[in-house]
Symmetry: C2
């Protein structure tokens, strides 16, 4: 192992704009907030599976983000799992899972944030991500797999103003719930007096929109004043390497 | 106010067996765990709306549980809201919302526990609750409103072994998720080293099944060893007054 190598490597998704992946943004923001040294390796969609298989043949989940801990020779997938791993390995850094909320964060992500915010956002961003964000190979892969999954051309999903608005209207009530939850806490976090996994995971969705579609990004920011306030505090953690 | 009156009154649902309501069980278990003195008034389904309108004309949510604080002359609905109210009013009692998890508990309840556990349980319990648990007026109301909502006779919903099993099979994976979350914590709670709102709200569903359908109750208890373990610890809090 070269001396200069950082302890952690974050595997993120390649794109013409970097970084852009909402799932990897969660881990990136948490690494930045914790001040943990890491480097990023960007890989294109078709390379996810072979890359993970090569790094750790025992893994069966081929998803980004993927974190490698070079000291422990451990690989971890899934943003909640990675957050939990970093809590245990870097106990002197600020916690993003205070009071043992890791299991509750799995429910937050799988039953709320993913189905009710990220999936409708994905529908709005299908074409913008393909045509404006991804690298050439990633765009080809994205178009083929997503057009098959949704049974239509990417451009059809949110291609008319009416369809765009319909999709937006499924997201807005959920943003209001997030806004009210933030507003109910004088610190304007989803939990306690410091930012934690739920805040970072939501802001990662905002960071994704910022890269992929200015209109959607501005609509989300304007949906509730508390969302704007949270983004002002946490957007500093969205940067590279 | 008579001198002997308790500070809090919990409005719960009338039945031939008392108590039985899953939503009221959450608050009852929390009151018992906190050791807060309270009395219960049981009201029949058709009386919920007029009772709440009389107690507090400003309320627009006509649901059980409903908590009255006689000292503060305040009425609170919704189990998460009531838990938050009790935390603020009884700060010397053990917390069920440690570290400011109240907003996260709303998501846990509304996006996970209610749609993925309570609603399929309700479908299994539609007929048993009507025919075995409710008082006469409540049963008439339940049959009329629930048959309209589901578009079938109560007895049809889970009336065949096949249908019962189909519904059970939608609950079981969610119970496995709860079991794994409990198992990931050495204290066997969903969060931290003491029971909190997520634990009580899930055990309230178990308490409901115990009253309404022995078969379902035993199936849930047997679904995962950690669920059995949690129930051993928290079932003591399901009692009256």
């Amino acid at each position: 192992m070269p001396v200069a190598q950082k302890r952690f490597t974050l595997y993120d998704l390649e794109g013409r704009t970097r970084p852009w992946s909402p799932h990897a943004f969660i881990v990136r923001m948490i690494l930045n907030y914790k001040g943990v040294p890491y480097e990023t390796i960007y890989i294109s969609f078709p390379d996810i599976r072979p890359t993970i298989q090569k790094l750790d043949p025992n893994h069966e989940q081929y998803t980004i983000p993927f974190l490698v801990d070079h000291y422990k020779r451990v690989t971890v997938v899934d943003s909640v799992e990675i957050a939990g791993y970093l809590e245990a390995q870097c106990p002197m850094t600020p916690s993003v899972l205070p009071g043992g909320i890791q299991p509750l964060c799995s429910f937050w992500y799988k039953d709320f944030l993913h189905p009710k915010v990220l999936v409708p956002m994905l529908k709005l961003l299908l074409a913008p991500v393909c045509n404006g964000v991804l690298d050439h190979r990633g765009a080809e892969y994205w178009r083929r797999t997503r057009e098959k999954r949704f049974g239509m051309r990417l451009e059809e999903m949110a291609g008319t103003e009416e369809r765009w608005t319909q999709l937006w209207e499924t997201i807005d009530p959920e943003l209001q719930r997030i806004g009210r939850a933030l507003r109910s806490n004088k610190h304007c976090y989803l939990l306690g007096s410091t930012p934690s996994y739920p805040d970072f995971s939501f802001c990662a969705a905002l960071a994704w929109a910022q890269v992929a579609d200015e209109r959607l990004f501005k609509k989300i920011l304007a949906a509730h004043p508390a969302i704007w306030q949270l983004w002002q505090k946490l957007s500093i953690y969205t940067g590279g390497p």
